[in-house]
């Protein structure tokens, strides 16, 4: 999966990363409590409206959803066959499918799509530096118990080096394949041995890189104990307040709908 920041100018890109983070948390918790299908569709529509506002091509999101399609298929099959409550709509030997199972499966698919598109939207529309800043500022109240600076540093370094590592992995795999190393050997022991030829170089390179990175940080006087501040302070803008108002209105609407249903 290639999750990267997509550079463009849009309302969603301008939003405060903390707000995006908070909304992501809020909605992704909510969708597991909301059992009304109409409300779920409404949320999905809202997410897609945000995607439209973000000016990021829709195919990026479809690609992300495609990436988890096998997970969706697996869980839906399990759901459909193993939930036995409700009225039977279809029966064949030991298989019987109920309307309740179909309903639940459909809802679960909806939830997954909402979750993935929303996550993708936050990641595509926020640079990793801002994401880490947001995380730090959300965790700030726990400064006394948590090593926040360290966490922030670790997360930003990890995010930064995922594409590098994956590139390296592919390259070394190709290099070893060129030497005739077979990564799909039928003999299990051989296959494990062959995978060692991939893991050892990756580890060696990673340690070397970590070493260099530490030196480079040292050379720029990086000090963990120092109190850090950032060049661009996160600050709520007008657009954020408008977004908050919209978020509240949206939730108000959902609440009304849910109370009607009950």
């Amino acid at each position: 999966m290639n999750l990267q920041f997509y550079q463009t100018k849009s309302v969603i890109h301008e939003l405060d990363p903390r707000l995006k983070f908070f909304t992501l948390m809020l909605i992704s918790t909510e969708i597991f409590f909301i059992k009304d299908i109409f409300t779920q569709i409404l949320i999905l529509a809202a997410v897609f409206f945000c995607i439209y506002l973000s000016k990021i091509p829709l195919k990026f999101f479809l690609h992300s959803i495609k990436n988890i399609s096998s997970l969706i298929i697996l869980t839906s099959t399990l759901n459909i066959f193993f939930i036995t409550n409700g009225n039977t709509v279809f029966k064949l030997f030991f298989i019987h499918i109920t309307d309740y199972a179909i309903m639940l499966t459909f809802q679960m698919i909806l939830r997954m799509i909402i979750l993935v598109s929303l996550c993708a939207l936050v990641i595509f529309s926020t640079p990793t530096i801002k994401l880490t800043d947001a995380l730090v500022s959300i965790l700030m109240p726990f400064e006394k118990f948590l090593p926040i600076n360290e966490i922030a540093m670790i997360i930003s370094i990890a995010l930064r080096f995922i594409p590098v590592l994956s590139n390296e992995f592919n390259l070394i795999k190709k290099a070893q394949m060129s030497r005739g190393i077979n990564f799909s050997d039928k003999n299990f022991i051989n296959r494990i041995k062959n995978y060692l030829s991939l893991l050892i170089p990756i580890f060696v390179l990673s340690f070397k890189r970590a070493d260099n990175l530490a030196l480079a940080m040292d050379a720029r006087c990086y000090n963990l104990a120092a109190k850090r501040n950032s060049l661009k302070k996160l600050k709520f803008q007008a657009v954020d307040f408008i977004a908050i108002i919209f978020l509240c209105i949206f939730h108000f609407v959902i609440k009304i709908i849910l109370s009607q249903v009950q």
């Binding site: 290639n2 091509p57 195919k59 990026f60 690609h63 390296e168 390259l171 070394i172 190709k174 290099a175 070893q176 394949m177 060129s178 030497r179 005739g180 190393i181 060692l196 030829s197 050892i200 170089p201 060696v204 390179l205």
Partner: protein, 260 residues
């Protein structure tokens, strides 16, 4: 026979990250020669060479290669080292047999490493020696076509020359088709007979190396720069003389002529 017919390669076809890396390449490569492959970063050189041994398959087009074993040496091949002794590292891709050690020694000798290296730990060797071990671990397959992606990148000048000299020697001995990617025009001028020039996924030139340097917007090797300067002093060096040695010979003769 090394033949590419209308070969196109598109990365991540059908996704949002689609990128055309090779664009309708048709080429019929000469065999048993040292061939240089030059072009800017991102011009498709690496994609091109990975089609030789099937690491990448063309999106469309046809490739016919009349060779069973194609050795591909990637950039920084020492990154792929993982065994604890040079012997095991070089011999990893070869089946156990009676003459395995002999084969390993041959491959090591071809890059100028002696028997004493057999039981050393490859991780403790110098950068140049590591590179040589990695190249030897490809040579042991006895490839009929050898492709080297910037074999000397990141090495000191002495080792660079040394490695290239060994590659040349091996080429002269075994006459295998050898393709060298390099950004160093001196290397191209010195070691290759033919050159492929790539630009944004297309092959814009394939022919004699001396002719390649007549192309517009191409970096020149030292010898060509010298020829250009001498031209303003009214001394003309024929355009097919591009190697350092030949240039020196030509100039020496000129000087002798004059003094006589």
């Amino acid at each position: 026979m090394i033949k590419f017919e209308n070969v196109t390669h598109i990365y991540n076809m059908g996704t949002c990250y689609e990128k055309k890396a090779l664009d309708d390449i048709t080429i019929n490569l000469a065999e048993n020669e040292m061939i240089g492959l030059i072009g800017k970063s991102g011009s498709g050189k690496s994609t091109f060479i990975q089609h030789f041994n099937g690491l990448l398959k063309p999106t469309s087009g046809k490739i016919s290669i009349d060779a069973k074993k194609i050795g591909l040496v990637f950039q920084y091949p020492e990154h792929q080292i993982f065994e604890m002794t040079v012997e095991n590292e070089v011999g990893f891709a070869v089946k156990d047999s009676n003459d395995k050690t002999k084969k390993i020694l041959e491959a090591l000798n071809a890059v100028g490493l002696s028997e004493t290296y057999l039981h050393k730990n490859p991780f403790e060797l110098s950068g140049g020696e590591k590179r040589k071990v990695a190249i030897a671990s490809i040579l042991i397959m006895q490839p009929e076509i050898l492709i080297l992606d910037e074999p000397t990148v990141g090495l000191d000048a002495e080792t660079q020359k040394n490695i290239l000299q060994y590659i040349k020697k091996m080429h002269e001995r075994l006459k295998m088709t050898t393709i060298i990617i390099s950004h160093d025009m001196d290397v191209i001028a010195e070691f290759t007979q033919k050159t492929i020039v790539m630009d944004s996924g297309k092959i814009i030139f394939y022919g004699r190396t001396s002719d390649a340097f007549n192309l517009p917007n191409i970096n020149l090797p030292m010898t060509k720069k010298l020829a250009k300067l001498l031209h303003t002093e009214k001394i003309d060096i024929p355009s097919d003389i591009i190697s350092f040695e030949d240039t020196v010979k030509f100039l020496a003769e000129k000087i002798k002529e004059k003094s006589n």
